[in-house]
């Protein structure tokens, strides 16, 4: 259905951005007097060398998948969701609150926690959607403001109701029954942070891909995103779709919050906006806003995040190099227009070369015939 050419082009473009980012990292490593081959060796080894590290890479990637999916989904409707961090906080808060309040068997408790995180994130994001639909308030402004409202809400609620035993600035540890970590998975991955969140992430990537490609809802959302006026003239309710899109984006970020605060971590810190919320924008960008693209991009970023400590330990390369690589990749992904143009140029040169070669061969064959 979708033209394969386009998908392929997006994939090449993203891989090209990654390659350029890695090259930039290599230059930096060389410039700081280190051997880039060693650097990359330990960077990737740090994320992949054993089953535990692989588990950690997956666990780090999990909230990124959700955050990236959230940004990408809203973007399909033409909305720029900068509020991933706030939606994650609210999702995490709902999850933590329920986990610390109720003493139910694990399967029930976890289900309720996830549903609560999903609803919390959805409601939190529906407000900017509502404001956009009703009063045309730009979602970039309102979602950023909602981030800070979420920040201060957590800042107030956690010490007030869920204060930890030692520190004012964090919540109590959630009980094992409320954690997405499960013993069989932890032991399978030799004590890594990995948790059920990664499976949830895969399921939601598939669900979102399905919604976008196969359902009337996805069709409507994309139509509104591509051309609001035409969608409206065709009888599609633009406002309803804006609210829908933001809510679903918020639900995804909310789930991401749950996988972070009751999966990757075991308590909530106050005074921190989760960086994953913003990294989600980069993930969506590199993943070309496609669900499976987001999945791969998040895994890659997860790998870099997990490996950078090991690289630092084994070489004298500072871990910031890994962050620089990520930043460079984002730049190159964002300037994909530039890359695309050069891509066409490279292709043309290749074609020219082939034509010339064929002409030369033809000439040779002709002269050989005489």
């Amino acid at each position: 259905m979708k033209t394969k050419v386009r998908v392929k082009k997006d994939l090449y473009m993203s891989l090209f951005a990654v390659l350029l980012g890695l090259i930039a990292g290599a230059i930096l490593m060389t410039a700081t007097g280190n051997n880039p081959f060693d650097g990359f060796y330990f960077l990737f080894r740090g994320g992949l060398m054993n089953i535990e590290r692989i588990g950690n890479t997956l666990a780090t990637a999990t909230p990124l998948i959700f955050a990236g999916l959230s940004v990408a989904f809203a973007f399909k409707t033409g909305l720029f969701n900068i509020g991933g961090a706030g939606q994650m906080l609210i999702g995490g808060l709902c999850a933590t609150a329920i986990g610390l309040t109720f003493d139910w068997p694990k399967p029930i408790l976890l289900s309720v926690i996830l549903v609560a995180a999903l609803i919390g994130g959805a409601l939190w994001a529906s407000l900017p959607g509502l404001l956009k639909a009703r009063f045309n308030v730009h979602e970039v402004v309102s979602t950023i403001m909602m981030n800070w409202i979420a920040y201060w809400t957590v800042f107030y609620l956690v010490p007030q109701y869920f204060k930890g035993p030692f520190l004012e600035t964090e919540s109590q540890r959630i009980p094992a029954a409320a954690s997405l970590k499960v013993p069989w998975l932890t032991s399978l991955f030799d004590g890594s942070y990995i948790n059920l969140g990664i499976f949830l992430a895969v399921v939601f990537v598939a669900i979102i891909a399905f919604i976008l490609e196969r359902t009337t809802l996805g069709y409507e959302l994309k139509a509104v995103g591509y051309n609001r006026d035409a969608a409206e003239a065709a009888g599609i309710s633009v406002n309803r779709n804006i609210i829908f899109s933001m809510s679903i984006a918020g639900a995804l970020a909310g789930l991401g919050g749950a996988t972070f605060y009751v999966g990757f971590a075991s308590n909530m810190q106050i005074g921190v906006l989760p960086a994953q919320g913003f990294d989600g924008i980069a993930v969506a960008l590199l993943g070309a806003n496609s669900p499976w693209g987001v999945f791969l991009a998040a895994l890659f970023f997860g790998l870099l995040h997990t490996g950078k400590g090991f690289m630092n330990a084994m070489t004298s390369i500072p871990p910031e190099i890994a962050d620089t690589i990520i930043a460079t990749i984002i730049y190159f992904a964002a300037t994909s227009v530039l890359i695309e143009r050069n891509w066409d140029k490279i292709n043309k040169i290749r074609l020219d070369f082939m034509i010339r070669k064929r002409e030369a061969e033809q000439l040779e064959a002709d002269s050989g015939g005489e």
Binding site: Y219, Y226, A230, L351
Partner: protein, 507 residues
């Protein structure tokens, strides 16, 4: 050699299409050379290659006898080539002067020196009789004036070879006359003009020579003195063109659309609609004539539901649709070919098949229980593509954006007629299209009528109104001037009514 431009064996391929198939095109210095062809024939591609927006796959370009390589528009500028695009490239909240100097601002101690530019632009404007106020904001001046600003932009950059891409598509008849005068003035001052168009009458009126392109190939280059509109049309389309429509007698039946005392307020700066009453019957085409901006837009938007009516009723059949949602109106049997196909007609980043279901995707058999049936959608789109002769490189999978204007319009017409509507509202249905596509769309509108459906056509082209309509309504200042039978009136009478004169008063 007296050829100022020589494009030799130019070839350009796009995925699935050969846009230029070894085209050789030569222009003499000081002539107006028309480039004629249907939409998608390759004329715009050829000119974009000359202007450096595209690179040819093979072939060479010679300017004033020297071989040149034009890899971007800046090089084209330096070589003295300027282009007025069909869609103007102007910054609306800048003044005329600011727009013209954009990109090569004269500076004096790091400050933009608008005064020197202002003087030069005033001089140029006088020299060529353009009559442009260099201090006016673009958003305040008419489309015709904006076009002159584009011309000034080229002159300011000392262009010698001027490419005009469909310059009259956006102009009123009076403005077209003005434009022709300006073009002659340019030639007198030693410029050379390449005119991309599909309007035969204009070519005959102004061009010296004409090169006709069809399907990416040159059909021939002729002197306009030695040819006629009919011959040019035949060269362009590849067969004889009917200038007379095959129009049978109308058999109107009961009234399907009744607009009763409708009042609508206009957007800022536009007149609204005042106590407008009009009926359209099944089996007839009613044409609404009027000068742009006299309430046509408000009327259309009120009927399809994009704009709220202040008072009055809109009846479709027996139902008052004035309070229904847009979708409910569509379901009642309303179809709409919008004036702006890019804005309201198509989702350009959707494929043709996705665009075909824009109004029906939620219904069986296109989807059931919220799931789209892609194989049915694909088949349906392929059928419409075949029935309406839509040319698309990758068929139903082509992006709407990749289609030529004429084929985009055919896609919209196809979608709307395919929905079998009781009433079809066609706003400027053939705007910017070539002879072949116009003829085709007119024929389909007449077919609708002959099948007993109602067509309400709003157009700024008087010829179109006179050719197609069974009855002609004239709107002026948001009010209905009069409604007359098409066979009992003529261009003059309608023209006078368009200026507000009641029937019989002027004669």
């Amino acid at each position: 050699m007296n050829h100022i431009v020589e494009m030799v064996d130019i070839r350009k391929e796009f995925p699935g299409v050969v846009a230029c198939d070894d085209i050789t095109f030569k222009v003499k210095k000081g002539e107006i050379h028309a480039l004629l062809g249907e939409n998608g024939a390759g004329k715009s591609t050829l000119m974009n290659i000359l202007f450096g927006l595209y690179q040819q796959d093979s072939g060479s370009i010679y300017l004033r006898g020297d071989k040149v390589s034009i890899t971007n528009p800046n090089i084209a500028n330096d070589l003295g080539i300027g282009m007025v695009h069909q869609h103007f490239k102007l910054v609306h909240n800048f003044t005329v002067t600011e727009n013209i100097i954009l990109g090569l601002e004269p500076t004096k101690a790091f400050m933009i020196n608008t005064r020197s530019a202002f003087a030069r632009i005033s001089d140029l404007s006088k020299q060529y009789g353009l009559n442009v106020d260099p201090d006016a904001l673009i958003s305040d001046i008419s489309v015709g004036m904006q076009q002159r600003v584009e011309i000034l932009k080229m002159l300011y950059r000392d262009a010698e070879i001027l490419i005009f891409d469909e310059p009259t598509a956006v102009l009123t008849p009076q403005e077209v006359q003005e434009m022709m005068k300006i073009m002659r003035g340019l030639i007198d001052e030693g410029k050379t003009i390449i005119l991309i168009t599909h309007k035969l009458r204009e070519i005959m009126a102004i061009a010296d020579r004409c090169t006709v392109i069809r399907w990416g190939k040159v059909v021939g280059t002729v002197n306009t003195e030695d040819t006629s509109e009919e011959k040019l049309a035949e060269m362009m389309v590849g067969r004889k063109v009917l200038f007379e429509l095959n129009k049978k007698e109308a058999h109107p039946r009961k009234e399907i659309l009744s607009i009763e005392e409708l009042s609508v307020s206009g957007s800022a700066g536009r007149k609204g609609l005042k106590n407008f009453t009009l009926g359209v019957r099944c089996g007839e085409i009613v044409g609404l004539a009027g000068i742009d901006g006299n309430g046509q837009k408000e009327l259309v938007e009120a009927i399809i539901g994009l704009r709220k009516a202040d008072s009055g009723r809109i009846m479709l059949g027996d139902e008052d649709i004035s309070t229904l949602s847009i979708r409910e109106r569509i379901e009642t049997g309303l179809a709409h070919i919008p004036e702006d196909r890019h804005k309201h007609g198509l989702v350009l980043d959707y494929t043709v098949q996705e665009n075909m279901i824009l109004k029906t995707y939620y219904r069986e058999p296109y989807s059931s229980k919220g799931l789209l049936d892609w194989s049915f959608i694909y088949e349906h789109a392929e059928n419409v593509i075949r029935d309406f002769d839509i040319r698309a490189g990758e068929g139903a999978d082509s992006l709407a954006r990749s289609l030529s204007g004429g084929n985009q319009q055919k896609a919209i017409v196809g979608r709307e007629i395919d929905s079998n509507p009781d009433l079809l509202i066609a706003v400027q249905p053939t705007r910017g299209l070539d002879v072949g596509a116009i003829e085709y769309i007119h024929q389909r509108l007449l077919e609708q009528r002959d099948q007993g459906k109602a067509v309400f056509m709003i157009s700024l082209e008087l010829d179109e109104i006179l050719d197609l309509s069974d009855r002609i309504a004239v709107i002026y200042n948001g009010e209905l001037v009069d409604i007359v039978d098409a066979d009992k009136t003529d261009e003059n009478e309608i023209g006078l009514m368009m200026a507000g004169g009641k029937r019989g008063v002027a004669t």
